[in-house]
Symmetry: C2
Subunit: 199 residues, 2 copies
């Protein structure tokens, strides 16, 4: 089935909506009210709903490439000769992106699940992150107890500081990241053989 292209005016409107939503979500996060997006774009709510019946459609259209960019970062980090450098480099780049785009941070931290498209990207990132950890552990740069879950936790931790300090001190997260990464290296973590199922 061939999708017939949108009418020219409709396509223009669609682009304007996307552009507007991108800016608002980067600044305010994923939950910007539909009404606000439509108003800022100079359209009616009906138009926004017609193009993006589900918020996830909109988010997907907006952030697919951002998530892909993070996947690419992770891949590049995996190619680093020095596993630990690759890991820290990846985390810094990732957080720099999140610092500039609130919605991206919410997505990557799972505050809000995206469509299959985005979820797949996030899963890929998680895979690669696990590799980064494994490689660093294998190289003796991280103690053996550290797991990919710990890296996810670091993501949440630094993200929390970022969210709390966006206004006052937008670079504060760097300090938190330094603390968290140093902690991974030096904390005495049991391998944690616990099955860790839900209670």
């Amino acid at each position: 089935m061939t999708e017939r292209p949108l009418r020219r005016d409709a396509e223009r409107n669609r682009q304007r909506l996307l552009e507007t939503a991108r800016e608002l979500m980067a600044r305010d996060g994923l939950r910007v009210p539909y009404e606000e997006i439509a108003r800022a774009a100079g359209s009616g709510m009906g138009t926004l709903y017609r193009r993006f019946p589900d918020r996830q459609d909109l988010v997907d259209a907006l952030f697919a490439e951002h998530v892909d960019a993070v996947v690419a970062l992770a891949q590049q980090a995996c190619r680093s000769d020095d596993p630990w450098s690759g890991l820290t480099w990846f985390m810094e780049r990732q957080f720099e992106l999140e610092a500039g785009n609130r919605a991206l941070g919410e997505l990557l931290r799972g505050d809000q699940q995206g469509t299959a498209r985005l979820a797949q990207g996030c899963a890929r990132i998680a895979e690669l992150a696990a590799q980064l950890i494994e490689r660093a552990v294998g190289a003796g740069q991280l103690p053996p107890g550290v797991t990919s879950d710990d890296l996810e936790a670091v993501h949440l931790m630094v993200g929390a500081v970022m969210d709390a300090s966006r206004q006052q001190d937008p670079d504060r997260w760097r300090r938190a990241l330094a603390v968290a990464l140093a902690g991974l290296r030096h904390a005495d973590l049991q391998p944690d053989g616990e099955p860790m199922r839900s209670a």
Copy 2:
């Protein structure tokens, strides 16, 4: 000015409302809808509003003693012979309380500001926490760059993990705390500016 005591039935209702609110907020956080509290307590909304016209009045009545308990913990920690032990002991006890009471965590992390009464308690905790840090730095148990702001950041960091894992693994925060505290000891933090890579 002598406040005349409540009528006996009114006092009973008030206690029931407090008890109910305490349970609901411990489980669901500070933002439990007023309507839900009233219904669970078997009262009308009017009654709840009459006793606690402002949500802060309610929160204050409920959590003053909890906050005081944390102040007491901090004081006790300050009396420890070993500054670092005192610090870690305090953080663990504090998070254990937060783990058992969602609303308390929200209060202590400033998700929601309380009345002057509570704010004062939180300020006192912050003071004592700063002392704990200073003492540990003075004893050479923490590097000189670490500040009380870093401890606040640790609070946010571990809190984020706790919030994310309450359901699946309620004890996960302990691991995050271990990471964060080890990070404080080992991260190479400049006294003010940018952090550097860990050693």
